[in-house]
Symmetry: none
Subunit: 225 residues, 4 copies
DNA sequence: CATGAATGAGACTTCATTCAT
DNA sequence: AATGAATGAAGTCTCATTCAT
């Protein structure tokens, strides 16, 4: 079964990554508790014992899976944000659609399900996720929205809420894709199209003249996802 | 431990409900797999054996939990919808805010987490959830949006997507409340306020003159949640 | 397999004791690490799961085994000591021979092997053993020897050492019985006879006029076994 | 890590000895079953694989440890015995005290614990230990005691028992040093002093006019340790 | 030869479920 | 009907041993 092209040494290098990928897939699919450690190992083409050479426990493996895929994506996100330019409105439309479209189609989208599902059991995850993902993402988007409001592109609304309105549905379809969406029912929501329309719809809402008195007075809470 | 106010007879009547409540709380908090059947029983004030008198297996208990809380809430939703009147816009603002605000604060909000978490392991849940919750809710909201578009209140957009943009963030904060939101980090998002602002924001987007050419041409996919 | 004479309830009462007995036998025979928890359970006529109902872990079972058999024997020892009377010399000869003869033939003799074998791995055992067994036994014997010396029955020697000279060989044959002595070699040392001769021999030594200058000046260390 | 003073060749020569020393220390400290093969290797400054180059299995290593340290000490014992002269009494006092004092302070003292602990699991050890250690030692001491009795130095007692009374406590404090004695309780028995007093005390007993009728009639059993 | 990655049998422990009381 | 003792399948993790490099 081991790829004869790869030497022992080379395989060893690749092992952690392979295990992480296998673990992500299975944890997302079946849940952490319902996935046996051996399944992960077999999925990665190694034996049970090998898994434990690289990760001291199933729980550590879970944390590594989350950290790994998270850091990778967030790094890409920061890059992408830096490259975009133009008005706040254009920036958000372009950047959000690109980044989420990519994420949606990658296995990393499953990390959301994993975090949602397992934080309560492993609270350390919360801290890490909050500071490594939520915080920076919310910061970035909040700054852009604020700029848009300052320049008169957007109406005055609670910035935190606006960011959530933009982002939560995108998180949600990632979740969806790996839960109900994977259940072979007939309704296959077109995630790509939805991302685009949603971002545009909410930004249209932000650009619109206030047809209704918005509940914009509340203190801006920070960020949930 | 048994409430002396209640007769033996009355308690027996209440058992299934009490078990369901206990199960909902624990399954949502720790996940189905990580919750022991005995914990549920103890939480409901009965012994392990008694649980099995009412539900033949832990899995059956899970399904009962989901069905029960779902039906209850959906019934209320239908009622509420029937009572509202006025323009499509007013109808949606009022109805959505009321219903979700109530749901958000009730234990039933946890069912979303349960469904997201466990569908992949128990696919029967998907079928039931789709037909008992998603289908009717999407139908109802879709009809109202369509009416709004027909009457010129709303722009032409993909109806399915619009419904999702309205609803997914609301599902998402329910999820949030029972996962990251329960993790005692400092950022306590004000769910109530968010619901109101979000519904208004998206409906503003729907009412706005199209500042951007929306990707409205795609076929309307059906419903994700 | 469960004795039909005993009701569920009655069996439950007896279970911990039965498990303790089975555990003592097996731990002494094969060592703690080399005995499987299931073996102990089966030996006691129950299943693996039942063992864990009574003792939360194999290690806890070990500690219980030691404590239980120890306390029992030490209690008997104290009783016996209280009943004996006469000169220090007669007291020691009678009491030691009786108590050790009984112990030697009981399964409890194996506890010595267990303690010797496992203290290094479970240091809590040391504390308990020291205070529950060594301390009281040494105290008692030391007091009698001191009395004998005060009354001129015994020569002046280091009291702690004298007690050890009396007792250590007795501990040793208990150990022996459960290690080499159990190995079906031809030399079956007669433990009973040895106990008697040894006690008499050492007490004769204590009563003798000092034919050799004894190293009696060292500070009396306390007690090792 | 390899000592630069030693050539590759010399190191290789020393390997088996180093492994044996490491194994003795760890097996005595933690028990055979609880010591991992890799620990032994690391302790000896080599890798797991190297251990297996010298000893085909962990069990073989155990047997080698016991044989090795045993032969070494017994050889020394025979030498020492040959050099001593004088009366049976003086011979025993001198020889026993010297040999046991040396042994007590050497790592080889731990072998007793190892044998006591592991014979039941590896019965081959018993045979080897009996013929290589117990038999010759008992023979030697028995001969001297018999000579002493024939020459009127000692009273008539069971020779086997007398040898045991002399020797068992010495074995016992070696055991003690590596079990309870290693447990950092406050009572640090002075082994050296005890050895001297004990040998003298028992020999005094043997020299004494019989103040009590000794149980000397029993058949002389052979040797326990 | 030495290394240490890989294997997989096997041990501890948990927990859903059954059933005597 | 309710209890909780008992069971045993199943899962996590360890470690002796092998073998490619």
């Amino acid at each position: 079964m081991p790829d004869p092209e790869l030497s022992h040494r080379r395989r060893k290098q690749a092992r952690p990554q392979e295990l992480l990928d296998a673990a992500l897939e299975l944890f997302v699919e079946k849940g952490f508790a319902a996935t046996r450690a051996e399944e992960v190992a077999l999925h990665a083409g190694v034996s049970k014992g090998t898994l434990y050479r690289y990760y001291p426990s199933k729980e550590d493996l879970l944390k590594a899976v989350i950290s790994h895929h998270l850091s990778a994506r967030i790094a890409e996100g920061a890059d992408m944000a830096a490259r975009f330019e133009g008005s706040a409105d254009a920036l958000l439309r372009g950047m959000l659609i690109d980044w989420w479209t990519q994420l949606y189609d990658s296995p990393a989208a499953g990390v959301f399900k994993l975090v949602i599902t397992e934080v309560r059991n492993f609270p350390e995850i919360a801290q890490h996720y909050a500071s490594a993902v939520v915080e920076p993402a919310h910061q970035l988007l909040g700054t852009i929205v604020r700029r848009g409001m300052a320049q008169g592109e957007f109406r005055n609304v609670d910035i935190g809420h606006a960011v959530h309105s933009l982002v939560l549905p995108l998180v949600m379809i990632c979740l969806h894709r790996h839960s109900l969406g994977a259940c072979a029912l007939d309704w296959h929501l077109d995630g790509q199209a939805f991302i685009a329309q949603h971002v545009n719809l909410v930004l249209d809402g932000l650009c619109a003249k206030p047809p209704s008195p918005l509940a914009a007075s509340r203190p801006a809470p920070s960020l949930p996802l």
